[in-house]
Symmetry: C2
Subunit: 239 residues, 2 copies
């Protein structure tokens, strides 16, 4: 067989190989992969082994399979992107569609905290994007988003920013966000931002610090969001 019998199980080697190809852009989002049989033949393993590797990638949302059609690179659609990582809800209630307004955007050097979180060099330039998000037409979230220019060249030259930034990252910069790490705390609303949410400075707000992880495992973007949590809650299921 062309994949040498090594330390790891064959299906794991196939998984690693296919994931590497995916990371390197060998296939683009929404493109089909070769069929199981074709991959099995190319790699010199059985179809079942390829299947096991593919299914693992599906379980990580890297791929999607459609019976009778083929296996496709997972795509960040408007809906999936908005809802997969967006956890703010009405208490006990359904998903809410956030609307978004950009408040400001500027270039500056990365702070120490940002360098640590994103693995940046000293003095590396980032874009700081300030956005206001509405739920049920009420201003609910102010978020500050940090985008390294080394990852997103000239992103501040984009004329139109979509509601779901991850779609832009994927289509224009080849960045596929596969997971996020959130840290939540309660804090007093900073005076500088209080007006946006129509709150008194010092009101209790939910702060969500997020690091977004690319398919290659790097943290490529981080954000801080201040959420009015009178009417909304951050909802999460742990299994």
């Amino acid at each position: 067989m062309s994949l040498a019998a090594g330390f790891q199980p064959l299906y794991k080697q196939v998984y690693d190989l296919l994931t590497r190809r995916l990371v390197e852009g060998h296939w683009k989002p929404s493109e089909p992969l070769p069929s199981e049989m074709a991959l099995a033949e190319e790699l010199g393993v059985s179809q079942g082994t390829v299947r096991k590797a593919l299914n693992q990638m599906v379980s990580e949302s890297l791929l999607e399979r459609r019976q009778g059609k083929g296996t496709y690179v997972a795509e960040h659609t408007q809906e999936s992107s908005l809802f997969r990582f967006f956890r703010l809800r009405e208490p006990g209630g359904e998903s809410l569609i956030p609307e978004t307004k950009v408040l400001s955007s500027k270039r500056r050097s990365a702070s120490k905290r940002e360098r640590l979180q994103l693995g940046l060099e000293p003095k590396e330039q980032v874009v700081e994007l300030l956005r206001l998000r509405y739920l049920n037409n009420k201003p609910a979230i102010v978020e500050k988003i940090i985008q390294p220019l080394s990852v997103f060249p000239d992103i501040d030259k984009q004329t139109e920013l979509p509601n779901a930034l991850y779609i832009l990252y994927q289509e224009k910069f080849g960045i596929s966000i596969v997971s996020v790490r959130d840290e939540l705390r309660a804090t007093a609303m900073p005076e500088a931002l209080a007006d946006y949410l129509g709150l008194a400075a010092g009101s209790p707000v939910l702060m969500v610090e997020r690091a977004s992880i690319n398919i290659d495992g790097r943290a490529v973007e981080c954000s801080q969001a201040y959420c009015a949590s009178e009417d909304f809650v951050y909802s999460v299921d742990l299994k």
Copy 2:
């Protein structure tokens, strides 16, 4: 075959059957299940089909498999129980071991909100347990836990409550918590509880409302926790 060919895939039928047996207490936590071969023979399906069903149950933390030994009913150990659903951390940091002190315990009728959340009858009796939890030897969390007496008979007669309640639920009441739903918001610290955390009334605190789900899918316990989030954050990875 003894499992009639029905609408659903065989492995799904096997999964349903084995899960039902598990729910009904057919096997107790930490007990071994019959071997794959034995189950396959009993059910009249192939070993591979049983394997697929078992692996799905493993992925839901219902079972554990140990190579060379057997397949076991998952057990809530002190560590796994404390850390699997306990999300409070130092910012960017490691897990913290919470210490616990019981403040009070009393019986009363369920409130409307509790009846809705836990599916209780009007006037049903519950135990309201108030606990104080410490992280790094500092009081960090006040939590109010609601336990229906219909689910946990005479739970308030327990002489000793363990740090991880889920272990008690499993050992004494046959309740296996498999998932939780958390809703987080920021709020002002209630005056009645502020002293416990050494905070001023009105300070911003993180409130975590939790419903705990039994293996049979019912919400069997709910809680409200007020967390001092000066020094600690609620940390979660979304994939």
